[in-house]
Amino acid sequence: MTAGRLLPLLAGLFTLVALAFSPGGEARWFDGGAGSLLLALVPVFLLLAFWQRGSKAWRGLVYVIVGGIAVFGLLNLLQAGAAGAAGLGFWLYGLGVWAAVWHGVDCLSKAEIASAGWRRGRDLLVPTLFGIWLLVVWELLCRGFGIPQVLLPAPSVIGERIGNSSAMLWADFQQTFLKAVLVGYAIGCGSAFLTAILVDRVPFLRRGLLPMGNVISALPIVGTAPIMVMWFGFDWPSKAAVVVIMTFFPMLVNTVMGLSASGHLERDLMRSYAAGYWQTLIKLRLPMALPFIFNALKINSTLALIGAIVAEFFGTPIVGMGFRISTEVGRMNLDTVWAEIAVAAVAGSAFYGLVALIERGLTSWHPSYRQRS
């Protein structure tokens, strides 16, 4: 039997057999409510779906939707008393649902869809489902085993914290991301770009400034952050300064490398047209350097956030993501720490994604993006 047939069969069998065992604690499979009826119907439906002969896309959707219903059932069970005491029935059922969702997503990702719009939707749906499923597994494990919140709070707890403290999180986000990170990133990358052009133009600077940049980038952040606080005060400018230090060198090195990326042929060509330094720079060397420059911009987008958060551990006003994390850890409010981490993760990924999107637009000619048309 191939894996493609095994997973849906396991999904049906596991969920069916699970009904014979206790879901754990006070919870019962059949308490007469609508939720328990659905839980009982899921295995029947999964077994029926096993013989279904629809297209891959439909089959995938059916499995994902049934899996989603089953997840709601399981969450209900936790609510009804299985939390912290989940039994064999609960985990068997969970495994069955896992197999069902896996098979569903597998079908969806393999499905051949004619319409371009639907295909795009599918390409978005599959990673989204994957992300949601990770959260579901996290939630079920945390609450099923009753893992202490200090060790790992469930996503729902973190979500609740985000909802309840949104004003505080927003203030921290403004302080750390919108001020320190963005300003530091812009100054760091911008000045490194201009320095790179200068270094490229003046040969002795290449020998002098590049090693200097190297030394600065090697400085430990725990050493520079307090010094920046001394220089620029407790508020965000000292954090922006740390971000400048962290982002400067990657941008400098990459831009200098990018500026020498154009070949002899291309430069001879510009020379044969009697093009000047600036014309050659703007029409040939900078476009050629763009992939390198965007590399640095992408690396720096995540470095900047890390730098700003860590810098706040060394003296800060009573606001900011790093400040919040360091104080709430001490007060054992780990859900707040996780909430800040979630905000940082979303903000960092969005920032990176935005830079990558701009890169795609500007360097669509590059072999890694180009498409024959």
Partner: protein, 264 residues
């Protein structure tokens, strides 16, 4: 002939060029004398290392000679370059991948500071001349190698230079495409009346295209023979089977053999 009244497009007197390398001096060119009349089609032929590309690069002011005199259009190569007297076609198309074909062809016009409308008009005109009408919005990587090289020829012609310098432009292409492009190049030369200097190491290509064939030899790079072709300007592809053609080809081959030492 030439529009500024200069009969000699290129005049080379006792030219030599020595590269100083870690292994001692390399004599790339030694005592080279050459005269290219306006409107000629001159080919440099010889084995690798005979200095044919170097000589062309000296004409283009991409390389500085260490001895002798050279004038291009009656002035120094540098003045000629700054006056945009020549269009250079390299071994590879060297089209910029972030520019469409039309914007690639218009690149020299952009550097010269021409207006948008005129750039577009000229680019279209020269793309038509190399049979690339309709490809102006494509990107270089969407075109075949032969089409890319044709676009690069259009780019070299679009600012209307007196001289066209071509350094093994078809070397990387297969023979069928090459034959086709050779034929087109002759028509282009006939239509535009440009002076063409052409580097190749293919004997049939040199004989088929040229009014004058300059046979060169390595170590040190020098001119062995300059052959004036008896073939008419009008040359269909099957002229390559005519006795005159074979006779010239034979003379080129003998020149190459005489200049080539087998003792290494």
């Amino acid at each position: 002939m030439a529009r500024n009244g200069v009969e000699r497009a290129v005049d080379v007197r006792d030219l030599s060029l020595t590269f100083q390398t870690a292994d001692g001096p390399v004599y790339a060119l030694s005592q080279v004398n050459l005269e290219v009349k306006a409107g000629d089609f001159v080919s440099f032929i010889g084995p690798s290392g005979c200095g044919k590309t170097t000589l062309m690069r000296v004409i283009a002011d991409l390389e500085q000679p260490t001895g002798g005199n050279i004038t291009v259009n009656g002035v120094s190569p540098q003045e000629a370059r700054l006056a945009r007297a020549y269009g250079y076609v390299f071994q590879a198309p060297a089209l910029y991948p972030w520019r469409s074909i039309e914007r690639n062809v218009a690149l020299p016009l952009e550097i010269m500071g021409l207006g948008r409308e005129e750039r577009r008009e000229r680019a279209r005109k020269y793309l038509e001349l190399v049979n690339l009408t309709g490809f102006d919005k494509k990107y270089p990587w969407q075109l075949s190698g032969g089409m890319q090289q044709r676009a690069s020829i259009a780019r070299a012609l679009c600012f209307d230079p007196d001289l066209l310098l071509m350094d093994e432009p078809f070397g990387a292409l297969d023979e069928i495409v090459r034959d086709h492009l050779n034929e087109q190049l002759l028509q282009l030369w006939d239509k535009t009346g440009k002076t063409v200097v052409f580097v190749t190491h293919s004997i049939p290509e040199a004989v088929f295209l040229s009014t004058h064939i300059v046979v060169m030899s390595p170590r040190p790079g020098r001119i062995i023979d300059i052959i004036e072709s008896p073939l008419p300007r009008e040359r269909p592809l099957d002229i390559r089977e005519s006795p005159e053609f074979l006779e010239v080809a034979q003379r080129v081959r003998e020149g190459l053999r005489a200049g080539h030492s087998y003792d290494e």
